[in-house]
Subunit: 329 residues, 2 copies
């Protein structure tokens, strides 16, 4: 074998006294006589051979790499997702290429082009651009965004989560509910949280109101809104459902400013189930998204061989967890 450079399949073939194709078969789990297999593996071990995945990627098209496109990597929900996806891929012997977009539609499109050129085996995207051009040549799974029936979407049961939140608040004694929503105007899954909430309120004949804001508006209008609904030291609502834990976190601070106690005066439920820093609890009472399952399901759909009959939307069950902002502890 040539020195000073990584050994190649040819070197292994020579060392083992077999043909090049035989070595290739061994490393691709294609049946080969037991004695041949052994000779190849021994030679490979002896030389410290490792498959060059770039040569493989060039010839076979399969690269064992999947791209994850996220708005950012530091928000706890996205961070948890990235971690889970990375592990789910590792279990299958795949690598994760990560790209962050800052929620910018143009950056998202550019990321897709970038990973397309990188010949990944698939893309998992949590994106904000409904007009995203997805190359037909690369399998794509969308998380939380149901843009297009042709693109499989994996999401939590957002409608059910909205219902659950309203029902929990009602059970805990709330009579006048408020839904607070912040986010981009994406026609994705998360909007269904409101639908579920409203449906449950109507079914129970509960008084309820809704206030929705766009990300770029910031949280300030919520503060103004809440202040304007305080009368005689009491808020017109006794239960608030926020569409993210982050919003619920802010709302707690706003309520404290107004001299309102949580959960005694107002109960608050968030959405996401993001763990607290210390990982020993939640930031608030919340509807917990099954992040691990979300990742596992996305990966298995993405890597599914038979792409003829893929589901267009998979909803995963959510659950409720008390976190100190409701009367159940």
């Amino acid at each position: 074998m040539r020195r000073g450079t990584m050994p190649t399949m040819k070197d292994v073939a020579q060392e083992a006294g077999v043909a090049l194709g035989t070595v290739s078969k061994v490393f691709n789990d294609i049946p080969v006589g037991e004695d041949y297999r052994r000779r190849v593996l021994d030679a490979a071990r002896k030389l410290g051979y490792q498959v060059n995945s770039y040569a493989r990627g060039l010839k076979a098209g399969k690269t064992g790499t999947v791209a994850l496109i996220l708005p950012n990597a530091y928000d706890p929900y996205f961070a948890a997702l990235a971690d889970s996806v990375c592990q789910a891929l590792a279990r299958r012997g795949c690598r994760m290429l990560m790209a962050v977009t800052g929620s910018d539609p143009d950056a998202e499109q550019q990321c897709i082009r970038m990973v397309e050129q990188n010949k990944v085996d698939g893309i998992i995207g949590l994106t904000y651009n409904p007009a995203l051009e997805i190359p037909a040549s690369i399998p794509f799974v969308s998380i939380d965004r149901y843009f297009n029936p042709a693109v499989p979407c994996v999401a939590s049961d957002n409608f059910g989560g909205g219902q659950l939140a309203a029902e929990k608040l009602a059970e805990l004694g709330c009579r006048r509910l408020l839904f607070l929503r912040i986010g981009a105007d994406v026609p994705g899954e998360p909007d269904k949280r409101m639908g579920g909430f409203q449906a449950a309120c109507q079914a129970r004949g509960l008084e309820h109101a809704v206030m929705a804001l766009n990300d770029r508006d910031g949280y300030e209008p919520f503060r103004v809104f809440l202040r304007s609904h305080v009368e005689g030291g009491r808020l017109s609502y006794d239960g608030i459902f926020c569409n993210t834990d982050r919003l619920a976190f802010y709302v707690q601070n706003m309520l404290a400013e107004l001299g309102l106690r949580v959960p005694e005066d107002v109960q608050v439920v968030g959405f996401d189930g993001v763990r607290r820093f210390g990982n020993d609890g939640y930031y608030c009472s919340t509807i917990v998204q099954p992040v691990g399952q979300l990742a596992e399901t996305s990966v298995s759909i993405l890597l599914e061989e038979d792409r003829s009959a893929l589901p267009s939307l998979i909803c995963l069950p959510v659950s409720y967890a008390p976190g100190g902002t409701t009367m159940d502890g």
Copy 2:
């Protein structure tokens, strides 16, 4: 051009009426006549051509991909680091391959083998295995771990951070300081936090004590320790420096349990500068690590062409930020 498949350089060359090598030069920023350059770029745009990075990786060895190896992706400090590294790489037109190890030394070694086979241009690692075998063929930059002078390490000024914490607490009126440390027994940079703390205490003639625990011990022994040092409703210490914000977060809860008020009875300073969930503050008063600079510096050292005279240790300045657990707000 052949249909139903991605265009290649050959297609572009044909379309533009130039040679293959000329197209290659254009896409590698090698000088070429202006008219040729234009013809090539026009043809490429028309065909929607994109360089196949696997073919490039095979021939040239450069892949434009860098691996980041982390214990996990969900801890806020690691998440922030991952986000920053991803952005720093993107600015340079590179992609980030992410691997998580769960702090397991064997998993770390396996990750290195995995990315080695993937022919990355370099590895940025935050690892716990001091005996890690790093292939000489791949540039490696270590974050926070100064294992080996031959491997460049980028870290915060941990010694200075320890000093700063002690000095701040002293300035704020503390007289009996306690250092609490948790973590793996890695002989890396973070241990210097204690050194700096002790040096500053000695320089000022301050009474001080230290308690250090291994990750696997959990936080419980700290609780026991603190309880045993309460006498007559007062703790024997009036200032606590924790080696991570996470620990400081737990310590706050423990102190509250003991009926001690933070910061009135005891002031607490953490380390890391992790932002709170809402990103509008810190979890505690803390020594802030310059995460963005850490990432930027690591990447630029990793991608440095001239590898003959690399620094073996780069210390980046830390700063202090009040976060509600000290008397300065």
